[in-house]
Point group: C2
Chain length 669, copies 2
C-alpha cells in the first residue's frame, strides 16, 4: 500500500480529542489483553506479502477468483495452524476462527475462503456428535488438514423446515451399510460452502430409515471425492451452485446421491444409534444439538455485526471529513460534508449502533455461557429464554446492519458505489447474514412464540425470567410523566414491547374465541408477532447499552461520549417507530419535539469527536480495504490508484476496438 501524509482535514479532526482513544479501543475489544492479541494477530496475518493481490479480485473471472482463493487459503491456513499452536488464549477454535474470518473476508479473500465451513461446522459437528471412536478416526485428520470437510443440510427445495428434508439414508443390515439417496431434484443438497470443488468429506443430514421406519434427521459423514484424484466418488453428482451477490470465493456447492453406500460407523452416533441388527436407539438428550445453533447466532451478533457496522461507519465518517461539497454559507468555501445535518443523520446512528450491538452481544454471550454451563448439568430452564434472545438479536441486528451499511454507502455518493470503497463487499456479507443460520422472519417468530408464552405464564402467576421481567410492570410505567432522559426512554421501550406482546396475546385469544384453530389464530397474527419480537429485541439492546455505560469502569470523559451515543440511538429508534411510542408508552404528542431536539443535539455533540470515535474502532487499513476510508484520508489519490489496477487500463486501446468498434463506426449505418 502506498504511503501518504495524512490529509489535513483529518489531522485537524484528530486534534484535541477530549477522551483517551486507546481507552475506548480497549473497551471496544473487551480488555487491554484482547486489543494486544488482536493487533498481534493482524500483524501476523496482514503483513505477509505472499497474500497480497496485484489485481483486486473484482477484476478476475469467477473461476480465477476461486483458484486464487484456493492458493491463498492453503498459505493462510498453514499460518492459521501455526498461530493456533503458538497462541493458545483459552478461546475455542471456533471463536478464534471467527475473529480470524473478520480479517480474511475483508482483507485477504474478499468473498471468503472455501475452507471456512471445515473449521466452522465440520470439525465442531464431529466433536459434538461423533462417538469417541468416530472422533479418533476423523478429528485428527481434520485438524491436521488431511481431509477437508463441509456440512450439508439445506436442500434445493428445503431450508427452514428441517423436517421436510428429502435426502434419505436407509440401513441395510445385510451389509451393515447405509444407502444414501437423493430421491428428487428438490432433495439435492444446496449451499454448503466449499462443497463445489474444495472438500472431500461432508457431514450430510438425511432422513434415517431402518427396519422399515423413518426416524427423522440424522448426520452422516460421507466421503465425496477420492483423495488422490479428487474425482467424485461413485454415485455422487457434485458441483458449485453458481455466482452470487457476494461470497463468490467460498465455493458453495450442490450434491446428489444415487445409492451411495457408507459403513454403519459413518452415522454420527454420540446421541442416537443404529445397532448392527438395524435396531434404532433414540437420543437421550437432543436439546444439546439445539445449543450449537444458538452458539452460531450468538457469534454472528458478537463478532460480525458490530464489525460490519464499525467498518461502514469508519469509511463514511473519514470520507465525509475529507470530502468538501457545497457551501453552507455562500462564499465561505465548500464545507466538509460531515457538517451537514442530513449527513450526520446517515452516519452517526451507525456509529452508535456499533456500540449498542457490541454491548448487547456481550450480554447475550454472558447469558449463553451461563446457560450452557447449566445445560451440561442437565438444567434446561433458561434455554428457551436464551433461544428467544439469540433469535431476535440475530434477526434485528443483521437487518439493522444491512440498512446502516447501505446508508453509509449512500452517504458517500457515487464513490460509495465503487468496489474500491469496499461497501459492496461489506454489504454482501451483511445481507447474507439476514438469511443464513435462520431466516430473519422465521427467527422473529420463534422469539415471538417464547414471548407470548411468557406473557401467558405471567398471567397464570408463574415466575418470569430476567429478560421478560418487564411484562410484569410495563403497564405501571405508563402513568409516569415523560422526561426526555435515558431512564424514561428505556422504560418507554419496555412499554412498547410489553404492549405489543399483550396485543398479540389477546388478538390470538380473540381469534380462537371466534372459532379459528390455534394455528390459524397464530398465522393471522404473524406480522404483529414479528414486530413484537423486534420491540423486545430493541429493549434488550438499549438496556444492555445503557447498563454498560452506567456500570463499566471508564473515565469520566469516555462516559460522556458513550452516554451521548446511547441517547442518540434511543432517540433515533423512538423517532423511527414513533407511532408505537405514541400508542403504547407514556410519550405524548407534546413531548415529540424534545426527542427531535435531543437527536439533533446528540449529532452536534458527536460531530467534533466523530473521527476519534471511529479511529478508536482501530480497524486496520487492510481490513477497511477502502479507497475512501484509510487512516490517512487520501481519498482521491487512492480512487485513481485503484482505478488504474483495472486490467482494462493496462492498455490504451482495447482489442475490441479493432474487432468490433472500428468496423461499426466505419459502416455509416
Amino acid at each position: 500500500m502506498k504511503q501518504y501524509t495524512v490529509n489535513k482535514d483529518l489531522k485537524k479532526e484528530r486534534k484535541d480529542c477530549p477522551f483517551d482513544a486507546e481507552e475506548l479501543t480497549r473497551f471496544w475489544d473487551g480488555g487491554a489483553d484482547k486489543t494486544l492479541n488482536r493487533r498481534k494477530m493482524e500483524t501476523f496475518f496482514l503483513s505477509d506479502p505472499i497474500l497480497k493481490d496485484d489485481i483486486p479480485s473484482e477484476y478476475l473471472s469467477h473461476k480465477e477468483r476461486y483458484e486464487h482463493a484456493i492458493r491463498k487459503s492453503c498459505i493462510l491456513f498453514k499460518k492459521f495452524n501455526a498461530w493456533q499452536e503458538k497462541n493458545d488464549d483459552g478461546r475455542s477454535l471456533t471463536e478464534t476462527y471467527i475473529t480470524f474470518l473478520g480479517l480474511v473476508n475483508s482483507a485477504i479473500i474478499k468473498g471468503s475462503s472455501p475452507f471456512t465451513v471445515h473449521y466452522l461446522m465440520f470439525i465442531p459437528t464431529l466433536m459434538s456428535q461423533g462417538t469417541s471412536e468416530q472422533q479418533a478416526e476423523w478429528v485428527g485428520q481434520a485438524f491436521s488438514n488431511q481431509i477437508l470437510g463441509t456440512y450439508a443440510q439445506t436442500e434445493l427445495g428445503h431450508g427452514t423446515f428441517i423436517r421436510g428434508l428429502e435426502t434419505t439414508c436407509t440401513y441395510d443390515p445385510a451389509t451393515e451399510e447405509f444407502i444414501l439417496n437423493s430421491p428428487t431434484l428438490t432433495s439435492y443438497k444446496w449451499w454448503p460452502a466449499g462443497l463445489g470443488h474444495t472438500c472431500n468429506y461432508a457431514i450430510v443430514m438425511a432422513q434415517l430409515y431402518t427396519q422399515g421406519k423413518c426416524h427423522g434427521i440424522h448426520s452422516f459423514i460421507v466421503k465425496i471425492r477420492d483423495e488422490e484424484t479428487w474425482k467424485p466418488m461413485p454415485g455422487i453428482k457434485v458441483g458449485e451452485i453458481g455466482s452470487k451477490l457476494g461470497l463468490n470465493s467460498i465455493n458453495n456447492g450442490y450434491i446428489a446421491f444415487d445409492n451411495v453406500r457408507i459403513s454403519r460407523m459413518q452415522m454420527l452416533m454420540k446421541n442416537a444409534q443404529v445397532l448392527k441388527c438395524g435396531t434404532y436407539k433414540k437420543s437421550v438428550n437432543d436439546k444439546l444439538t439445539y445449543s450449537t445453533m444458538i452458539f452460531v447466532r450468538a457469534i454472528i451478533v458478537k463478532d460480525m455485526i458490530s464489525g460490519f457496522l464499525s467498518i461502514a461507519s469508519t469509511i463514511a465518517t473519514r470520507y465525509s471529513c475529507v470530502r468538501r461539497q457545497s457551501e453552507l454559507i455562500t462564499g465561505a468555501g465548500e464545507c466538509q460534508i460531515l457538517d451537514f445535518q442530513t449527513q450526520q443523520f446517515k452516519i452517526f446512528p451507525a456509529i452508535a449502533m456499533s456500540f449498542a450491538y457490541k454491548c448487547a452481544a456481550s450480554r447475550l454471550w454472558n447469558i449463553y455461557t451461563g446457560v450452557t454451563s447449566m445445560l451440561i448439568k442437565g438444567d434446561l430452564e433458561l434455554l428457551p429464554e436464551l433461544h428467544g434472545l439469540a433469535c431476535c438479536l440475530k434477526a434485528v441486528s443483521t437487518a439493522d446492519a444491512a440498512l446502516a451499511v447501505t446508508s453509509c454507502r449512500l452517504a458517500c455518493g457515487g464513490h460509495g458505489y465503487m468496489n474500491s470503497s469496499n461497501f459492496p463487499n461489506i454489504y454482501s456479507l451483511t445481507t447474507a447474514a439476514e438469511t443464513y443460520e435462520g431466516e430473519n422472519t422465521v427467527l422473529l417468530l420463534q422469539t415471538a412464540r417464547f414471548l407470548v408464552k411468557a406473557f401467558a405464564n405471567n398471567i397464570s402467576g408463574k415466575k418470569l425470567t430476567d429478560t421478560v421481567m418487564y411484562l410484569n410492570n410495563f403497564k405501571l410505567l405508563k402513568r409516569n410523566n415523560w422526561i426526555t432522559n435515558l431512564e424514561c426512554m428505556t422504560e418507554a421501550f419496555s412499554q412498547v414491547a410489553g404492549s405489543k406482546i399483550e396485543n398479540c396475546y389477546y388478538s390470538i385469544k380473540q381469534n380462537i374465541k371466534s372459532g379459528m384453530s390455534k394455528e390459524n389464530a397464530w398465522n393471522t397474527t404473524t406480522i404483529k408477532l414479528t414486530k413484537a419480537a423486534e420491540a423486545h429485541c430493541r429493549l434488550f439492546v438499549i438496556k444492555s447499552f445503557a447498563t454498560t455505560v452506567k456500570t463499566a469502569k471508564l473515565s469520566a470523559e469516555l462516559m460522556i461520549v458513550l452516554t451521548d451515543l446511547c441517547e442518540l440511538i434511543c432517540a433515533h429508534w423512538i423517532l423511527n417507530q414513533l407511532g408505537d411510542f405514541l400508542q403504547y408508552s407514556n410519550l405524548k404528542r407534546r413531548d415529540v419535539s424534545s426527542i427531535e431536539y435531543l437527536l439533533e443535539d446528540c449529532f452536534k455533540r458527536i460531530r467534533p469527536v466523530a473521527v476519534s470515535l471511529v479511529d478508536s474502532f482501530d480497524i486496520h487499513d487492510e481490513i477497511l480495504n477502502s479507497s475512501l476510508g484509510m487512516y490517512d484520508g487520501n481519498v482521491y489519490e487512492r480512487l485513481l490508484e485503484d482505478a488504474n489496477k483495472s486490467p482494462l487500463n493496462k492498455e490504451p486501446v482495447n482489442e475490441s476496438f479493432h474487432k468490433y468498434l472500428k468496423p461499426y463506426l466505419k459502416s455509416k449505418l
Copy 2:
C-alpha cells in the same frame, strides 16, 4: 431457453382470474397501441440468437465483460437504428431509447451498454445546446454512429455543487482556440459512461475563462481519441474508473486535460457565445438547460422505477407460489409460502407501488409536457412546481424501489442471493438511481425549498399552484372524524405534508428570530425539510393513484383490484409513518387498529389474484432473466441449469487441486 410445462401450482393460481389480464396489461402500458409496440420491440430484439450468451456475464472477468458488451452493442445498435427507421411512433429518440434500455440492461447486456450516454446525453445536448452549424457538423455523424460520444460533467472531487467544478477552458484570441486544463487531481472528470475506452468524443463541462474573467460553466465538444488508432489525443489522460457494485459493462471513465487546444467552434454556442475577439456574450435564457435535468428525472420515474418494482415483485410472487415450506397446519403438508402473512407483507407493497409510481409518473409526465410547451412560449411560471415535483419523485421513488427490491429478494431466501435470480443486478441498477442525476437528499432539499416558499406565498395571500393547493386547507381537514377509506386517508396525507411544511417554515423563522443567519436557520432544519419533501411526494403519489383508479375507463372487475392496491399502499405508508399521522392528521390512536385491519384485509384480497397481477405486467422471460421468476415456474430446474453454466462446473476437478490443495493436504501440518 429450455422449454418446460408450467408448474402446477402456478397453473392453479392463474385459473379463475376475476379480471381481464390483457385489459390490465394495456392499462399498465398506457394503451393498447403501446402494448402492441412493446411486444413487437421485444420480439425484434430478444429473439436474435446472436445476442445470447453461453456463459452468463457474472462468470467473465471484468475485461471480458467489457469486450462482450462492445461486441453486443455493435450488433444491438445496428438493430436499434434499423428499428428507429422503421418504427417512428412519434416519441423522441430519448424516449424510445429509454424503453429500449429496459430490455438491454436486464436481458441483453447486464450492467448496461457503454453506448448508452451517446444516445441519452451526447446527442440530446448537441441538439439543445449546439448552434445550427454545430448541429450540422456533429449531429449527423453522431446519428450515423461515425463518432461515439459521452457527457463529462462530474469530477473526482465535485458532483452536486456544479459551480465548484475545477476544469478550466481558457480562450486564446491569438489562435482563436480554447485551452482545456485539469489543474488538480480533484478536477479529473470521473464517471462518464463509455468514456473509459469506448467513446472518441465528449461534451465537457468546464469553467470558461476569456479576457481574464471567469464566466462559469459552459459545454465544449472535445475529441478524445483518434478515429483510426483509437489512441488518446495529445494532452489527454483517459481510462476507466474501475469495478463497481453494478453497471460493470458501461465503461465509466475518467479524463484529464493537459493544455488541450480545441477550436473556438467547439464551444456549444446556442446560448452563450465567445466571439473571435474573446468577448463573452451571455445566454438569454438559461432556464431551458434546466429543463433537461427535469426531463431525465421524469424519465427515471416514468420508465425505470415501475419497471424495477414490477420485475422484482413478479419474481418474488411467482417463486412464492412455487416454493413450499413449513406447515401452516401441522400434518397438512407444506404450504405455498405466499400464504404466509409475513411473506405478503414483503411482496404485495411492491406490487402496489409498481402501480402507484406508474400513475404518479404519468401525472408528472403530463405536467412536464404542459410546462415545457409553456416554456417554449417564454412562460416560466410553473417551472418551479415541476422542478420541485420531479426532484422529490425521483428521490422517493428510487429509495422506495431499492428497499422494495431488497425486500422481494429477502422474501426469496437464499435463492434470492443467487445472481441467477437477477435480484443482485436489479438492485444494483435501482440503487444507482438513488445517487445519479441528483443525489436524493440534495433533491429533497430542492423540493423543500419550493415548498417552504409556497407556504410563505400562501401566508402572504399569493395564489398557490395545483400540487401545493392543499397548503390552503389542510388544517380544516383535521377537524373531520376519521373513517378508514381512501378519501379520508388521502386527506390525512395532505394534513401530514402540510403540517410538516408548516413546522419547517416556523422553525426556520424561529431560528432567524433567535439570531441565526438565514442560511444557518435553514441548515439546522434539513432533516425535517427532507421529511417534509418526502411527505409532499407521498401525498402526490397517493393522490395520483387514487385519482387514476377513480377516473380511468376500466372494467368494474379491474377497478376493484386496483382500488384494493391503492388502499393497500395507503394503509402501508400510514403505518410506516404512523407517528406523523398520529401527530399531524385527524387519525386517532383508537383508529389505528382499523388501518392494521385494512392492510391485512387487502393482503387477503390480493392473495388470490397476485399471480394474475404480476402476469399482467407482461414482463418477457428474457427481461425477467430470473431462475426464480419465469412464467412457467420451473424454479428448481432452472437453478440447477444456471449453476451448471458456471465454467467451474465444466471440469470435475479444478486444476488448483493439483497445484495447491493436494500438496497442502499431504503436508500433514
